[in-house]
Subunit: 196 residues, 2 copies
Amino acid sequence: MSYRIITISRQFGSGGRTIGKKLAEALGIKCYDREIIDKVAEQSGFDKNYISEKGEYVPGGVFGTMMNRWSYSGPTNEERIWQIQAAYIKDLAEKESCVIVGRCADYLLSERDDVLKVFIHADDEYRAERIVKLYGESDINPEKRLKDKDKHRAAYYQIYTDMTFGDALNYDVCLDSGRIGEDKCVDILKDIFKLG
Amino acid sequence: MSYRIITISRQFGSGGRTIGKKLAEALGIKCYDREIIDKVAEQSGFDKNYISEKGEYVPGGVFGTMMNRWSYSGPTNEERIWQIQAAYIKDLAEKESCVIVGRCADYLLSERDDVLKVFIHADDEYRAERIVKLYGESDINPEKRLKDKDKHRAAYYQIYTDMTFGDALNYDVCLDSGRIGEDKCVDILKDIFKLG
């Protein structure tokens, strides 16, 4: 088998995005993350911040009801974003070897055999420290911020893919970045990708 | 951090046991698998085959009721086996650097910081082919054999640890042996263990 694409699913604060960027750099290929939002914004007319939130998180209050709402009132904004995002990611995978961070890319590209599917996670302590360093303090304590993000991201994944976020069976490789170390994760993934 | 122990949880037929053995050999340490059964047999008086089955699988018909049964009729054979097995594994980890395959060792040693927790899995096609090669044909088709083993092993893990079998968050590293390859899995784990 020969890999062309790497998808990185990640827990909020685990450093999955940074690992994706470093990995792409090491492999001399592009890493798609915020670029996906820009593209969806361009095609949909929605604001980037709105897409950033709706394109990976289920907003509070609609857990479990979103699918029902679609069925009788036509596509919601969330579904339109999902569709544009999905088409863009599938097209991307067709065109070039790259790293794609988040946005259920593992699920969207699950029929391809050339995708190395990665999940990056870490314990709460590591992630809490990391998000305070990266994004600064906030009124809400870091543990609560993690819990909220985890809940909404897992719900988004579940609703759109009908699979459980973080189930090892959905991925080729899962790594605890807090335990293994960010750079070591990059090395392991680079090695697997190259040997493909 | 410095690792001394590697625990390998694995899906039936994924080659996790073989990876554990090869890894131990590469690291010059011992791999504990059947040896645990021998030890529990010696201490409990139960037959090895009985322990092999009860020490990792929930028998049909008692899903969800085992905990209740314990509470009013004293420890069952399963619980006695669990207790002896748990004590033996904890003792082992205290005494020597080693690889321990299965038997919820990841959970039993979760308070130790020197344990590299690994989960090995693979898709049904890979595992079905592998179990027929290893264990031969049987009246029951390989897919059904896998499904039964998966169900009973997951139930055992859930009952004794109160965690979900195969949840990436419970492990430091999860690898798809069918996709990554058995020998590459050994190399990756050896490398992580050594750099620990």
